[in-house]
């Protein structure tokens, strides 16, 4: 009952015309970001982050979150119509979505993707509404040892869930942790690795690193000659799926929603992993698996639902625990902190209007996206007709503006360039940059909680094993680490290896 009352408070905030406007703007920009290849939600959010400085925290987070889940909707459009994933999480939709389009069912595929995304997104918000407040209340019991244990578990979970190998993921996370130590040490005041560059005293920001690794890195490795594609534009009347297609999509949407939300709670590229796993599950459960790759409805409905549900699930640890599960939620957290709102267990009590306004805005945003994506598909298709050679310089310009405007610092832009080069080489070596960003984000909290724990216990590291919550978290981490090491030593092809092979196979096609 209390939750419902709070949700009503949220709706009273989310339905205010000014908040609604920024929510709509976020959804529109997010859809465009999702549609355009080469620019992801992270770049979109980073570019518009400085624009939100003049807004209050609620409007800012509503708009930026709209970009995030809007991009998950928009990503399906290019996948279905051009076989180019606008988003990494839409890779699986390319296969059967494009095959459906080739069979003249592009409109139906777009409609199923949009409706599936809406159902999954709304399901995710309902579960978030139910579990985030009690989780936040539980997290109030956390002290430095529990936070240390939780962050270790997060890193191990990231490595376990990763489709690349354990050492590769942990290595990337370690580089991120190391980058996070640059700047003034909070406990002793030492300058670390700042090399007399004043701007480095505050450390390396998330935005230049994330935009460089993901935005610029992607552009550097994508020559315009490689981006070609024929755009199929469905007419409005062709958008409605037939009864059989609705029937075939119902269970995949339901399964994708649940699977996506659960994976969304875990650290890493959850929205990408969820769509791959959903596709694998649907193929496994299908009566006619041979139809997959040739236009199976379940191959569109499942992954599209899963990636949207995962993007909502990722908000649970961010809002309730103050822990980002990936680069996008890290930047969203940074946006809240810029506005004086600290995400975490206290958020729901200290800023109920922000918390519940944000949650309610996601219900509204999902409806807005459904209304935006279907009737305006023709408009978004026209955006795809802009040649890539005109588009990528524009993206670079927005990357520069976005990074520079956060702190008015040209050093940040140089960091972005360096990270772009690093991102290019990481791609060449098959290393995933996402754990690096996550490591960078959690590094200050991890170091502080670890050192505080040791100071609290006068140097006895057993403090981590004498407190029940910390012990339980370390136990889970140990189990996951053992499972990963077992697969590593035995060189056994488990589900993650198969997932990596599937990803590599799809990327190569």
């Amino acid at each position: 009952m209390e939750t419902l009352d709070s949700l009503m408070l949220g709706f009273s905030v989310a339905l205010r015309p000014d908040v609604l406007w920024y929510g709509f703007l976020g959804c529109l920009v997010g859809t465009l970001v999702g549609v355009l290849p080469g620019i992801g939600p992270l770049s979109g959010i980073s570019i518009l982050l400085p624009v939100t400085f003049g807004l209050d925290a609620t409007k800012a987070i509503v708009m930026l979150a709209g970009i995030y889940y809007g991009s998950q909707y928009g990503g399906s459009t290019t996948s279905i119509l051009m076989r180019i994933p606008g988003e990494a999480s839409s890779v699986m939709t390319c296969i059967d979505g494009y095959a459906m389009a080739r069979k003249g069912r592009a409109g139906a595929a777009l409609c199923i993707a949009a409706v599936g995304s809406w159902i999954a997104g709304t399901f995710g918000v309902v579960v978030l509404t139910a579990i985030a407040p009690p989780l936040a209340a539980f997290a109030l019991r956390f002290g430095p040892p529990e936070y240390t244990a939780l962050l270790v578990l997060g890193l191990i979970f990231l490595a376990y869930m990763s489709s690349t190998s354990l050492p590769r993921t942990l290595l990337m996370a370690a580089i991120g942790l190391l980058l996070g130590t640059i700047g003034i040490d909070n406990l002793t005041g030492h300058f670390r690795y700042s090399f007399d560059i004043a701007e480095l005293g505050d450390g390396i920001g998330i935005v230049p690193v994330a935009v460089g690794l993901f935005g610029l890195g992607e552009i550097l490795s994508t020559p315009s000659a490689t981006v070609v594609g024929e755009v199929m534009a469905p007419k409005l009347r062709e958008l409605l799926p037939n009864r059989e297609e609705w029937r075939q999509s119902a269970w995949p949407i339901a399964r994708g929603s649940v699977l996506g939300f659960l994976i969304g709670l875990t650290p890493g590229s959850a929205h990408i992993i969820s769509s791959f796993l959903s596709y694998a599950v649907e193929r496994k459960l299908a009566r006619h698996p041979e139809e997959f790759g040739k236009g199976a409805v379940a191959g569109v409905a499942g992954p599209e639902s899963a990636n949207n549900s995962a993007s909502t699930g990722a908000f649970v640890p961010m809002l309730a625990l103050g822990l980002p599960t990936g680069p996008v939620t890290a930047v969203l957290m940074a946006a809240l902190i810029v506005h004086g709102v600290q995400p975490g267990p206290q958020l729901v009590n200290e800023h109920p209007d922000v918390f519940w306004g944000f949650v309610a805005s996601m219900y509204v945003g999902n409806v807005l996206l459904l209304l935006l994506n279907l009737p305006l598909v023709g408009l978004f298709v026209n955006v795809l007709r802009i040649p890539y050679s005109y588009l990528y310089p524009l993206v670079i310009m927005f990357c520069v503006i976005g990074v520079y405007t956060v702190n008015n610092s040209i050093v940040d832009v140089w960091i972005m360039l360096i990270m772009g080069v690093l991102g290019y080489f990481l791609r060449k070596l098959g290393l995933d940059p996402a754990p690096l960003v996550l490591g960078l984000v959690i590094s200050p909290t991890f170091e502080l909680s670890l050192r505080q724990s040791l100071i609290m216990s006068n140097g006895y590291w057993t403090i981590f094993f004498t407190r029940p919550i910390a012990l339980a978290l370390f136990f889970i981490a140990a189990v996951l680490l053992s499972l990963s090491l077992f697969a590593l030593i035995r060189r056994r092809a488990d589900w993650r290896t198969k997932l990596a092979q599937a990803e590599a196979g799809e990327a190569a096609q």
């Binding site: 003049g54 590769r168 190391l178 130590t181 002793t188 490689t226 520079y404 360039l417 060449k428 590593l488």
Partner: protein, 147 residues
């Protein structure tokens, strides 16, 4: 032995960790009861060396380094050089001049019509400047020319 992707990645990680350790000399490690500013970076460097060595030891399973395609390297170098030049001039010449030149150079290098590239570059930059400065109230860099 054929060098493979993981051999290169692992050795680069070890080299980076050793370089960081080399410049960390003045950072105190401290004690367990009061950890110093150097404890965390040094522990992470040790972890990086361990993980880098593991990656190298298991490198046989990764793709041969010679199989990695570098056909996009000229594009990457061109884009990077032009962007770096623009960044170097950004605070001096301001947003409109620098970004117009950057867009024009990038599009011209793709072999597009020069007049169209010039019109597109200037038009986009003027629109963006107006959008950020007037509509979004988030002023962009002006430079010595005052715009």
């Amino acid at each position: 032995m054929t060098p493979r992707a993981d051999h290169i990645a692992g050795s680069a990680a070890i080299a980076a960790a050793l370089a960081v350790l080399a410049v960390s000399g003045d950072l105190p490690f401290g004690t367990l009861a009061f950890p110093g500013a150097g404890m965390m970076p040094k522990l992470i460097c040790a972890l990086m060396i361990l993980l880098g060595a593991t990656l190298m030891a298991r490198g046989g399973a990764s793709a041969p380094f010679s199989d990695i395609g570098w056909s996009d390297l000229p594009h990457a170098v061109r884009v990077l050089a032009i962007t770096a030049a623009a960044v170097a001039l950004y605070t001096t010449l301001g947003f409109i001049v620098t970004m117009s030149l950057m867009l024009f150079a990038l599009i011209a290098l793709e072999g597009r019509n020069l007049v169209a590239a010039a019109v597109y570059s200037v038009g986009i930059c003027l629109f963006t400047y107006w959008l950020f400065t007037v509509v979004l109230k988030s002023p962009l860099e002006q430079g010595i020319l005052g715009f």
